[in-house]
């Protein structure tokens, strides 16, 4: 699996640097080299990493942040009929400093963008971003003067959820995809142990993954009866 490497020391806030700060490079799984050096410590690092990732992915604290319509569907996912607690992500935080991930649920406005950046900067590592809905993904149907055409113009996005707005189920699926991706991550186990880079797995595109199954559908349900 391919990984994207980012390093904290690369993210220098020079005046003319544009967001997202830092360099991103494509690399191989760093764990492979570990195994080449010593099978025992390599395996140990692998197990430790998996355990930590398992803990991280099952206790994700979402930041209570909403922009527009998508936030209503996101909230719907938090409430009892959809029950996000099943995925360990029910501890909603009102402060970015306590949150693990931020869902850009709604349209990213030019007036709001600098604020979103600040809130993102206030979150502590490890942190992730889910872009929820067409507006956050690409501007969607709002190709208009006041809207940023996709939040990834300045934030690094981990998962994109399509829809306008996506159903709560789609949000839950996006959350699970984020969990899958977190399980594959390689982060430093401590600030004194080993490589300090953050390796994010390049996860397969869901559209391509499910394409074969999807095009096999030839008959759709008629909308004429419930």
């Amino acid at each position: 699996m391919a990984y994207t490497l980012t390093r904290a020391e690369d993210a220098v806030a020079a005046d003319n640097a544009s967001y997202p700060l830092g360099k991103r490079q494509s690399v191989e799984d760093p764990m492979k080299q570990q195994v080449h050096r010593s099978v025992f410590t390599g395996k140990l690092a692998d197990v430790l990493n998996s355990t930590v990732n398992w803990g991280r992915k099952n206790s994700l604290w979402p930041y209570n942040f909403g922009l527009s319509c998508c936030y209503v569907e996101m909230t719907t996912a938090f409430t009892s009929p959809h029950d996000i607690a099943r995925f360990g992500a029910e501890v909603i935080r009102a402060s970015p400093r306590q949150a693990d991930f931020m869902v850009i649920a709604g349209t990213c406005f030019m007036k709001m963008a600098p604020i979103i950046q600040q809130l993102y900067d206030q979150m502590l590592e490890p942190k992730w971003v889910i872009s929820m809905g067409s507006c956050a993904n690409s501007g969607g149907m709002y190709d208009i003067y006041s809207v940023v055409q996709g939040v990834d113009k300045f934030l690094p996005v981990d998962v994109y959820i399509p829809g306008c707005p996506p159903r709560p189920e789609a949000f839950l699926q996006g959350l699970q995809l984020l969990q899958d991706s977190i399980q594959q991550e390689r982060r430093p186990l401590s600030w004194v142990v080993g490589d300090q880079g953050v390796y994010r797995a390049e996860m397969p595109s869901q559209r391509e993954k499910h394409r074969d199954r999807r095009i096999q559908v030839t008959e759709l349900r008629t909308p004429d009866s419930v």
Partner: protein
């Protein structure tokens, strides 16, 4: 099928009272009243000279049956408009729409302005809620208002160049350089957002104390979206506050100028984004007036039914979040469970949850599916016991009562002055609901009541909405029992998209169908307007057609905009927790404010 819409609000024949009023104004102001414009707005539209504007407004405000409320104020860039025969010359037109609740009528005043002298006197002295509307006109069109105390941009960032609703301003983001944000520009924008009390005539300290300025928002759990409120505090007490909006401006009005009449429908859903198809209703009704389409009783009833269903889901969201803002955790879980039940029905009928964009010009998207009544009956049976439970568990809760009784209370006078409509107005005891006063889409055929309250406080606003849900359930039941038979699309050449069966007849109908679907329908040049009683108050679409496939100007008057403007008047001298209770009780979404 043959029942024709009786639209009392849009009577094309000008009625006696309107004539008398126009005559009176002409007598009093002579040739300062330039002309009366014939429109499909259903109200007299008068062009007046700039010099007498304030005086005319003051006269109308003082009539025996006064125009109590400045309902809307905005502008039109006339420079590219070709269909304006007989109208005074103008580069820009600023219009003032007044509403008389006591007389149940409207009037619109228009003032012509020229590019080299875009300036008008402010009318804040007559109608205090003109403040934000004038700021918006300044922001969007660059019209200056003399004597305005703080004529700053309201929707766009203060660093913005240009005035977006001018015809020479770009519409698409992709017409412009791609957006990038650097460390420097982010810092600059953040600095520009810094609050300077002196700009708002505020003092930093009094004799005894130094005030604290607290930013509530633009991202705050109780702010219901991207809304910022700067509080001037002395301890817990709010000395003054300044609401700051525009963090949710999606340029819907500009968007309407580049979408076909038909393809703008999905954008209306996203104005009051919890109101769903309720938002389609004023738009399609206004377009149908331009097109001259009359729809049958089935279409009317389907529209009413879906709109009322969305009123219930919207009010449920209100109820859940209102009580959550007061600190009650569980109501939101109950309310969202009910919303899910509602969405099951909505999804079965329209195929989508929040934004079905299901109404069409001259009809609805498709006929009701088989078995819809069984589903709807299930929801109608489900709701009443739940509402009873909410009333008992929540509204009779002493903590809720203590937090909301006599909090942020205002009377009808105050509501008029600030342009408050909908349940918030009715909570003050004013019986004004358009569904009864100016029935549209066949509301006159339904048996329901308009709930009223009397104290106009945060509690009444909550309680009233529970009662409104009961009435909506009652309307739904009548829809199930008496759904008329008929087509789901009107038989009219401008119905969009045209009936599919017609397309297959011969090449002529095929071409017409193709053009109407690709280019969209061409509507005759005119102006029309429709107000409806939406979930949060009166929502209206004022359409100006220039005889093209697209709107020349679409003005969307939303109820939440004035509701937020009123906050400082109510909160001065209140405490921070009262403010949170009030914010919860207003029932607003930011898309309904900033559009």
């Amino acid at each position: 099928m043959s029942i024709v819409e009786t639209d009392t609000s849009a009577a094309t024949a000008p009625d006696q009272r309107a004539n008398a009023l126009v005559t009176q104004l002409r007598e009093q102001f002579g040739d300062q009243v330039l002309c009366e414009q014939a429109t499909l707005t259903g109200m007299p539209v008068l062009w007046v000279n700039r010099g007498v504007l304030v005086e005319v407004l003051a006269t109308l405000r003082r009539l025996p049956e006064p125009f109590e409320m400045l309902f809307d104020l905005s502008a039109i860039d006339e420079r590219l408009r070709s269909h304006r025969h007989g109208l005074p010359k103008a580069d820009f037109t600023v219009f003032y729409q007044l509403l008389s609740v006591s007389g149940n009528r409207d009037i619109m005043l228009k003032v012509a302005l020229f590019e080299q002298d875009l300036s008008l006197p402010t009318v804040i002295s007559v109608y205090p809620n003109a403040n934000w509307y004038e700021r918006e006109v300044w922001d969007m069109f660059g019209v200056h208002f003399e004597g305005h105390p703080n004529l700053y941009r309201i929707l766009m960032p203060s660093t913005w160049q240009g005035h977006p609703l001018r015809k020479d301003h770009h519409a698409r983001a992709t017409e412009f350089d791609p957006y990038t944000m650097t460390v420097e520009s982010q810092d600059k924008e953040q600095q520009a957002l810094k609050f300077k009390p002196e700009d708002w005539g505020m003092k930093r300290h009094s004799e005894h104390t130094e005030f604290m300025f607290l930013n509530l928002g633009p991202n705050h759990p109780s702010a219901h979206g991207a809304f910022r409120l700067v509080l001037q505090l002395d301890g817990e007490e709010i000395i003054d506050c300044v609401p700051d909006i525009g963090y949710h401006h999606r340029g819907a009005e500009k968007m309407a100028e580049r979408q076909t009449w038909h393809s703008f429908i999905p954008y209306t859903d996203r104005i009051d984004y919890v109101g769903g198809v309720m938002n389609n209703l004023p738009y399609v009704l206004a377009v149908e007036k331009l097109a001259g389409i009359q729809v049958n009783a089935r279409i009317q009833t389907i529209r009413v039914m879906m709109a009322e269903l969305f009123r219930i889901t919207s009010h449920l969201l209100f109820l859940g979040t209102y009580l959550q803002d007061l600190g009650a955790m569980s109501p939101v879980f109950y309310a969202f469970t009910d919303r899910q039940k509602g969405y099951d029905v909505i999804e079965a009928i329209t195929g989508f949850r929040m934004h079905p964009a299901w109404f069409r010009i001259g009809g609805v998207m498709q006929d009701l599916p088989k078995g819809w009544d069984r589903l709807m009956q299930g929801f109608v049976n489900w709701m009443p016991p739940r509402l009873k439970e909410y009333e008992k568990a929540m509204m009779e809760n002493s903590l809720v009562r203590d937090r909301t009784k006599n909090i942020a209370a205002f009377d009808t006078e105050n509501a008029f002055a600030w342009g408050v409509t909908g349940p918030n107005l009715r909570a003050t005891g004013c019986d004004f609901d358009l569904r009864k006063k100016r029935p549209y889409s066949g509301y006159e055929n339904f048996d329901f009541e308009i709930p009223l309250a009397h104290n106009g406080d945060a509690f009444d606003r909550g309680q009233l909405r529970i009662e409104e849900m009961r009435q909506s359930v009652k309307i739904l039941q009548q829809c199930i029992n008496n759904m008329p038979a008929g087509d789901y699309k009107a038989d009219h050449p401008l119905t969009t998209p045209p009936p599919r069966e017609r397309m297959l007849e011969h090449i002529e109908t095929m071409i017409t169908h193709f053009l109407q679907v690709s280019w969209g329908p061409v509507l005759p040049g005119n102006e029309s307007m429709q107000m409806i009683e939406a979930t949060k108050g009166i929502n209206s679409y004022y359409l100006t057609s220039d005889g093209s496939t697209m709107s020349y100007r679409t003005r969307i008057r939303t109820p939440s905009f004035p509701h937020l403007q009123q906050i400082p008047v109510l909160m001065r001298g209140g405490f921070v927790p009262d403010l949170i209770a009030h914010l919860g009780s207003i029932d607003f979404v930011m898309a309904d404010v900033d559009r």
